[in-house]
């Protein structure tokens, strides 16, 4: 059996990734870029959780009777990935604050972005 049931989930998570990517590349406002990163992270996390889907499965908490469980590993991975995402977002916000204090704006200037 393959992932046919999950195709809408894949489309949604890929759409989130693409939206995030678009935001990261096109926006100049630091907060918008941070939001875009968050959207991208969410897309990836949805994808990973979906990878552990088993038809008819339940949450992997043992309670005596033995139904079919979901694959627990992706859930554990996503737990880690979420915390990491939070950490990065928090640090990015701190950097944004520092940038704002130094420059008085949250817009990245063209010169700074495109410098090669």
């Amino acid at each position: 059996m393959t992932y046919e049931l999950l195709q809408p989930v894949f489309v949604i998570s890929m759409a989130l990734i693409a939206i995030g990517l678009y935001g990261v590349m096109s926006k100049k406002n630091i907060l918008k870029i941070i939001l875009s990163i968050g959207i991208m992270d969410t897309g990836v996390n949805i994808l990973i959780v979906a990878m552990g889907y088993i038809p008819g499965g339940t949450a992997p908490i043992e309670n005596g009777n033995y139904p079919v469980y979901m694959d627990p590993v992706p859930q554990a991975l996503v737990l880690t990935a979420i915390v990491i995402g939070v950490s990065v977002t928090a640090l990015a916000l701190a950097v944004a604050m520092g940038y704002y204090r130094k420059t008085g704006t949250l817009e990245l200037d063209d010169e700074g972005v495109m410098k090669w």
């Binding site: 992932y3 693409a18 043992e62 309670n63 737990l79 880690t80």
Partner: protein, 243 residues
């Protein structure tokens, strides 16, 4: 121009990724695997990894929540790393915003309902958070959600007392001690058992609170750590000096 390029790239990525994942023929069960020859014992593992987790977690760890068993025991080293990521981020934020803090920024006084409500709600928040991280091995949740709930209590405090920060020093001490406890629990595994983070406590009775060996201890440490770290982050982002 920039937006058009960005749009083209992201649409391309979307099309390629969607096509790839939709046509992917990955198996939708977790029974594949099991041919791996262990480099330490040179034995075959005879089952797929997730299957083994689901089958053995009760026996191995005594936790009824398999996800917790994976997070804290089977892949506990990842979780130590995860805690460290949060710790690094919190330290980084403190490092960046140390000098940039502003004093005496005028804030709006919060209204009466928020003030009184916070006093009423705060104990419940703390209790719920504590409950979540203590029962991590039995119910969904664990150290991270529990710590985050407690940190939301800190957030409430910061919202109410607009011109005050949190006791940064105390948070920092809590954070350090909790982190050290986690690392120490792991290192003691090398002493009392054979490996880092290996369980060396009795597993207790399945589905009871005092069970699952070191898992609740680790989750308590994580709960304290995450709560104080997120609190520290909020404190630093608010930018008020400790009184």
């Amino acid at each position: 121009m920039r937006k058009i390029v960005a749009a083209i790239i992201s649409i391309t990525v979307f099309v390629i990724l969607t096509y790839f994942f939709i046509t992917s023929s990955a198996p939708i069960n977790y029974t594949t695997g099991g041919q791996y020859i262990n480099p330490i014992t040179h034995e075959h593992s005879n089952q797929s990894v997730p299957q083994q987790y689901l089958k053995d977690s009760k026996k191995d760890t005594g936790a009824s929540n398999v996800v917790t068993a994976i997070v804290v025991e089977y892949r506990g080293f990842d979780t130590l790393g995860e805690v460290t990521v949060l710790f690094t981020a919190a330290t980084g934020i403190a490092l960046l915003l140390d000098e940039l803090k502003r004093r005496n920024v005028p804030h709006d006084e919060p209204n009466f309902i928020v003030k009184v409500g916070s006093i009423v709600v705060l104990p419940f928040i703390v209790v719920v958070g504590t409950y979540i991280f203590i029962h991590g091995h039995l119910t969904p949740g664990g150290g991270f959600p529990g710590g985050a709930v407690i940190a939301s209590g800190f957030l409430l405090l910061l919202l109410v007392h607009t011109n005050r920060g949190l006791p940064e020093r105390k948070l920092s001490v809590t954070e350090s001690i909790a982190g050290m406890t986690y690392a120490l629990i792991g290192l003691l595994g090398l002493v009392f058992a054979h490996e880092f983070l290996e369980n060396y406590l009795p597993l207790g009775t399945f589905t009871y609170l005092f069970s699952a060996g070191i898992i609740p201890l680790i989750y308590i440490a994580i709960g304290f750590k995450v709560g104080s770290e997120l609190g520290g982050i909020l404190h630093n982002l608010k930018g008020v000096h400790e009184e």
